[in-house]
């Protein structure tokens, strides 16, 4: 594994290794001293062409706990906002000796373009590219699900996960569909037909337009953020109608299975896709997702950066 661009690039075994490594790292940083020397002397760049405070600080905390040097390179006030091309940015980062670049970008495939080795040689981690993928989010979601619902197993065999909301524009949904099914879970997408992509019929998932039909049978309800500008683009009539059919409210929460959990990648629109009492209920693991995010991102950084790439190692 040289980069983390898409869940498609990792096998089930590699995904399990990431989750297990995250478990060990969680333990190793559980004590009074949260910092490990593992990535001392390594330079990691946070290249955030699109604002995302929570993902950026999660990666930053992960890198710092492993003693890496972190450089933040954000959209506002940087050369990115002055029309510099991605290629020029990449070559600048190469010249600065970045060992890894964590990139958030509004363009699908931006991370893949950056990993193009004619531009730079360091590892590239996709922290969200347009409406394509957000692999570290899916890994932390799988980690959270496994901790709650799987006791002593590596995979998510036998679990049923509902992903609810704007699938069409969601990088979180795309990465989660790939990862959760790779780990053996059954996934059902719940959305209005306008917010499902053409071609979704060939995804390895079930689809329903009726949230109430599956609410009592799923182990995990993963709510997606709905952006209000989708209304003006004619995807649904108004917020009230969206909430009524696709929101998680007290009534639906009550009908959920015993031990089932509620997730949301954040930031939430309380009162739109999720009511406040659902977000704060005992079933909600939303705050825990944030904590787990740091551990999973530490695991990703460790596995990508701690060693040389395969084949270059010295004999044991």
């Amino acid at each position: 594994m040289k980069h983390l661009l898409s869940i498609n690039d990792i096998s089930q075994a590699e995904a399990v290794t990431i989750l297990n490594t995250a478990e060990e790292l969680a333990k190793a940083t559980d004590g009074p001293i949260k910092k490990l020397p593992t990535l001392r002397g390594r330079t990691i760049v946070n290249l955030f062409a699109e604002d995302s405070t929570r993902t950026r600080i999660s990666f930053e905390a992960a890198a710092k706990r492993l003693s890496a040097d972190v450089i933040n390179f954000s959209a506002k006030g940087s050369s990115l906002s002055k029309g510099e091309s991605l290629k020029d940015t990449a070559q600048t980062l190469q010249a600065m000796g970045a060992d890894a670049v964590i990139i958030r970008h509004q363009a699908c495939g931006a991370a893949a373009r950056l990993a193009d080795n004619r531009w730079m040689s360091g590892a590239v981690i996709n922290a969200g590219d347009g409406t394509h993928e957000h692999p570290s989010q899916a890994l932390l979601d799988a980690f959270t699900i496994r901790r709650h619902l799987i006791h002593g197993g590596d995979t998510l065999d036998g679990l049923h996960v509902a992903i609810v909301g704007d699938i069409l524009h969601s990088r979180v949904a795309r990465s989660n569909v790939l990862l959760l099914t790779k780990l053996g879970a059954k996934v059902t997408l719940v959305a209005p037909p306008t917010l499902l992509p053409v071609g979704v019929e060939n995804w390895p998932v079930s689809i329903t337009f009726n949230f109430d039909e599956i609410i009592e049978t799923v182990d995990v309800v993963m709510m997606l953020r709905i952006q209000l500008e989708r209304m003006s683009e004619m995807f649904f009539p108004n917020a009230r109608e969206y909430s009524r059919y696709f929101g998680l409210n007290a009534d639906r929460l009550r009908r959920m299975k015993q031990n089932s959990i509620v997730m949301h990648p954040g930031p939430m629109n309380r009162g739109l896709e999720i009511t406040a009492d659902s977000a704060d209920s005992a079933r909600s693991v939303i705050v825990e997702q944030v904590t787990n995010g740091v551990n999973v991102r530490m695991a990703i950084l460790y596995l990508l950066l701690a060693g040389t790439s395969q084949g270059e190692g010295v004999p044991a």
Partner: protein, 178 residues
């Protein structure tokens, strides 16, 4: 491949180490055994079993993965982390005995001391190894040694345990093969 230590010799060496640990620490109450994965963990388990038999009650025993503290990470492919299991009484104010199969450069033990420091502050830290093959690169020595095996640098030493390898043995390879 030369058999340096057959199974009966290994069992005797482990038993001797177990007695020495008890003697030095006046029993097992203050002792916490921490094996370094992979083979150090199996060795620690055997020592713990001996001590339980001798003392009539179990000793505090766990594992300590040192990967995150290694100083050669950049020279090897990344490796999966092994479990670290700290027994219920922790390490604070305990006589911690680190257990590993082979003592060579001393770098693994240096990393283990760092990993231990992350967890707490033991009263003493002691070291038990099955084989000391020499060639130290750091000022580290073992408190309990099963067997001293002087080797040359091109030789390699392999400790085999029944649990992993189907047989108990210490073999010396005269190089060239690896």
């Amino acid at each position: 491949m030369n058999l340096a230590l057959p199974a009966p010799d290994i069992a005797r060496a482990i038993m001797r180490i177990s007695h020495e640990i008890l003697e030095r620490n006046s029993g097992s109450e203050s002792v916490t055994l921490l094996g370094i994965p992979t083979r150090g963990a199996y060795l620690a388990a055997r020592i713990a079993a001996n001590i339980a038999t001798i003392e009539g009650h179990p000793v505090q025993q766990g594992t300590l993965d040192i990967t995150l503290h290694r100083d050669d990470l950049r020279m090897r492919p990344p490796r999966a982390l092994m479990p670290t299991v700290i027994p219920p009484l922790g390490v604070e104010d305990r006589n911690v005995v680190l257990v590993d199969d082979v003592l060579f450069s001393g770098r693994t033990i240096r990393a283990a001391l760092d990993a231990l420091g992350q967890i707490g502050r033991p009263r003493t830290v002691q070291l038990a190894v099955l084989v000391d093959r020499g060639h130290r690169e750091l000022p580290i020595r073992a408190d309990y040694v099963g067997k001293n095996l002087p080797t040359s640098l091109h030789q390699s030493i392999k400790v085999q345990f029944t649990e992993l390898d189907g047989v108990d043995a210490v073999v010396v390879d005269d190089g060239g093969a690896e």
